[in-house]
C-alpha cells in the first residue's frame, strides 16, 4: 500500500489549540496543501488576526505578520504595494473583516489591491467568549444577545461577500463552508481560484468560509457541522458570488 494522504509540508507538526471540530483547523490544512501545491512557501506572507486564529503563525511554515484587529487589508495593501512579487493573504474572522475592519476591507477591494482575504465566518466572536458578530443570525443566542439577536435592535447579519461583489476591484469572491467532505473539497477549489487570481494579478479576491464554532454555538462538533447546512447556509448561500477573472470555473 502506498500513502495517499499525509500532513502537508507547510503545516508544522503541532497540535492545534483550536477546539474539537473547529473550522480553523480544516482551513489551515487546506491552505497549507495549496501553499505546497502552488509552490508559494518562498514568496508567501500570511497576515493573521487577533482572535482564536492569532496563533496561526504557530502552524504555517511561511512568513507571517500579525496585524492589529481589523487592519489586515490595510497591512496587506502596504506590504503588497511595497513588494508586488510577494504573495500576500490575510486570514480574518468575522469581527475582524466585517466589523472593525469593514472600511479597510471595502477600500482594499475598491482599489483592486492584488491580495487575497480568507474570511472565516463562524457567526460569533470566538476568542473573547462568544459575543455577537456582524454575521450572527437573527434569533441566535450569544453572550451579548442572551435572548437571541433582535433584528430591530441589533440589525441584520452582514453579507460581506455580496457587498464586496458590487465593487469592480473585486476579481473573485466565493462563499463556501467546511462542514462536509463535499464542501471541504469545494473550499479548497475556491481558495485555489482566489490564490491563482492574485498570481494572475487580477485584483482583490476573497473566500468567505462558513466555519463551525461548536464551543460558542454550544453544540457538539457533529451538531455544529450540521447546523451550517440546516441553518447558516440558508442565510449565507454558498456559491461563487462574483468572478471577474475571465477564467473558466475550476469545476
Amino acid at each position: 500500500m502506498k500513502q495517499i494522504y499525509s500532513r502537508p509540508a507547510s503545516l508544522k507538526k503541532a497540535i492545534f489549540h483550536y477546539c474539537p471540530g473547529c473550522g480553523h483547523s480544516v482551513v489551515h490544512r487546506i491552505i497549507a496543501e495549496l501553499i505546497d501545491e502552488m509552490n508559494l512557501r518562498d514568496v508567501a506572507v500570511g497576515i493573521p488576526p487577533p482572535g482564536c486564529a492569532v496563533f496561526t503563525y504557530n502552524y504555517f511554515d511561511i512568513d507571517m505578520a500579525e496585524s492589529a484587529h481589523g487592519r489586515g487589508a490595510a497591512v496587506a495593501t502596504g506590504l503588497k504595494r511595497a513588494s508586488p512579487g510577494t504573495f500576500v493573504f490575510t486570514y480574518q474572522g468575522d469581527g475582524d473583516l466585517a466589523a472593525i475592519g469593514t472600511a479597510e476591507t471595502i477600500h482594499a477591494a475598491n482599489r483592486g489591491e492584488n491580495i487575497t482575504a480568507i474570511f472565516i465566518n463562524n457567526a460569533v466572536y470566538g476568542m473573547t467568549g462568544g459575543q455577537m458578530a456582524p454575521t450572527t443570525l437573527s434569533g441566535q443566542k450569544t453572550t451579548t444577545t442572551p435572548v437571541g439577536r433582535d433584528i430591530g435592535i441589533e440589525g441584520y447579519p452582514v453579507k460581506m461577500s455580496e457587498m464586496l461583489a458590487l465593487i469592480k476591484g473585486a476579481a473573485y469572491i466565493e462563499r463556501v463552508a467546511v462542514n462536509s467532505p463535499k464542501n471541504i473539497r469545494r473550499t479548497k477549489k475556491a481558495i485555489q481560484k482566489a490564490f491563482q487570481s492574485q498570481l494572475d494579478g487580477r485584483g482583490f479576491s476573497m473566500v468567505e468560509i462558513l466555519s463551525p464554532c461548536p464551543t460558542n454555538w454550544k453544540m457538539s462538533p457533529a451538531e455544529a457541522w450540521k447546523w451550517i447546512d440546516e441553518v447558516m447556509a440558508k442565510e449565507f448561500p454558498l456559491g461563487v458570488i462574483i468572478d471577474r477573472t475571465g477564467k473558466q470555473d475550476a469545476d
Partner: protein
C-alpha cells in the same frame, strides 16, 4: 480497493467527525484517553477500509494518514 488508516491519537480531539463521515463504519470512538484528556478515535474495522480518505479530509487535526493499494 483496499485501504488502511493510521490515527495519531495524541492529535485526536474526539470530535467524532471521522466516525460520522466514514462511509464504511471503519472508525469508532474508543474509551482510551490521550494526554490531553480526549477520548480518541480508533480504527475498529480495518478490513472495511477502502482508502477513500474522507476521514482525513474531514479530520480537523490532520491526525489521520491514509494508505491505499
Amino acid at each position: 480497493m483496499k485501504g488502511h488508516i493510521e490515527i495519531d491519537q495524541e492529535f485526536c480531539k474526539g470530535c467524532e467527525l471521522c466516525v460520522l463521515f466514514c462511509p464504511n463504519g471503519v472508525i469508532g470512538l474508543s474509551d482510551k484517553l490521550n494526554a490531553n484528556g480526549y477520548r480518541v478515535a480508533a480504527c475498529v474495522k480495518d478490513e472495511e477500509c477502502s482508502g477513500c480518505a474522507v476521514c482525513a479530509l474531514v479530520c480537523p487535526e490532520v491526525a489521520i494518514e491514509v494508505y491505499r493499494d
